[in-house]
Point group: C2
Chain length 259, copies 2
């Protein structure tokens, strides 16, 4: 709606993508915005503290103020807070990397994690995005999205390896199974050599708030161990969901659940 703000946000995103100082002309070319306009917008960003200008080269880069605002966002969310101790516990007990993810623009965004202590680790820094269709981590999130969201995701599905889910039909089946069971596991599907288990976290309104994942090298995660990890994911996710105010749906098998 507001074209000016839209352009300013595009500038921010472009600078974030670049990861290093960028020039006015460069930004103008990339985003097809007039150089004067870019300059004026950058000027306001600098004035507000969101960007800063390299003294010698004159190029612009984002400042830590943006990081500070972002930190405020996750601090405001209750999910990372309640999930943190469970991430640590699961990482300690299994010795593998544990991760917390949420849906962001049809992908999985890793918002917190605890690294394994093994020398062989999964490389995925905070803020990394993972495909939503090609791993258990993504699919436990995808399964509980609105119908239209799922359709769009399934439509653009493509296998990344020769293992795991290969067709859209299989994907739909798996999503249905996840909706019933609430957890999943995968192996060599996103990347050869990586396996993982995941379970969905739900909030007070019943919607999916995030996913709890334990991941590691296929070599260490035998089928038995992966099942164990999956059970841990389920337990952790349920604990988190409960703390978020989620009332377990309890179809019939768990009738009690007083209060």
């Amino acid at each position: 709606m507001s074209v000016t703000v839209e352009k300013a946000l595009q500038l921010i995103e472009a600078m974030a993508r670049a990861g290093k100082p960028v020039g006015v002309s460069q930004l103008g070319r990339d985003l097809q915005i007039n150089k004067s306009t870019v300059h004026r917008l950058l000027d306001t960003l600098v004035r507000q503290g969101y960007a800063c200008q390299e003294e010698d080269s004159g190029r612009y880069a984002l400042s830590v103020k943006l990081w500070e605002m972002g930190i405020g966002v996750v601090r405001g969310l209750s999910l990372p807070q309640v999930a943190r101790p469970l991430l640590e516990a699961a990482a300690l007990e299994t010795g593998e990397t544990t991760m917390l993810g949420v849906v962001q623009e049809r992908e999985v965004l890793i918002i917190d994690k605890v690294d394994s202590l093994h020398p062989l680790q999964i490389f995925s820094p905070l803020g990394t995005r993972l495909p939503i269709c090609n791993s258990a981590f993504g699919r436990v999130l995808l399964a509980f999205q609105p119908e239209a969201f799922i359709e769009a995701a399934v439509a653009e599905f493509a296998p990344r390896t020769a293992f795991g889910i290969q067709t859209q039909a299989q994907l739909r089946e798996d999503l249905a199974r996840i909706r019933a069971e609430g957890s999943s596991q995968s192996r060599d599907e996103w990347q050869i050599g990586i396996a993982g288990a995941a379970a969905s976290i739900h909030d007070a309104k019943g919607g999916v708030a995030g996913a709890f994942c334990i991941t590691g090298p296929t070599a260490r995660l035998t089928e038995a161990k992966l099942r164990d990890c999956r059970a841990r994911c389920v337990a952790a996710s349920q604990a988190i969901s409960q703390q978020l105010g989620h009332i377990a749906p309890g179809p019939a098998r768990q009738a009690a659940g007083a209060q």
Copy 2:
């Protein structure tokens, strides 16, 4: 300059401050912006993925996209990357909390840290701001700022406790001493019961890039231990500075240092 973008950024900051969903009218009142304008700007923020609207209440909150952008900022900086292992090492060796800070709007912004394992800890989450005049951590940063910056900071200095630096004259002296020595330590000055040591980190251009700090309860940090921490800060900061391409000024005492 660009009033529209300025207002949009104000909205972002206001929502970050709130830490929870806020209403259109509320934001309009707080920032003295017309309700219609607020609504339209929020609409663009939502469309661009930076904010989202609570379905039931209609209130708005920032989304994780802002966090994602912020993460990209610190990932682009080399300082946190090279400092991380040294933060961990110092925390392990001393058993105390280690922190990495940069200057942000006349305050110290904590951009990374490794927590002590002691039950008694310093509470200061990532993204916390500390005063720049009232601790060693702040002053090693302040000492190397431009003249005007220092003047402004000194002008608004006020002691927070009855310990440590008490007057503007003392503060100026201390800053001069820090410029000569490159490190500092303080005790009971920012908060009663907290002590810390810090050293400044410099980049290739010679400017100050950040500060390395070891902090803990006054009870544990005896004078001897605090001196030890200070020495560790100096060593770590020099190592980091070197990796950032800083050429040690080497007044005379270390003439060699080839390559």
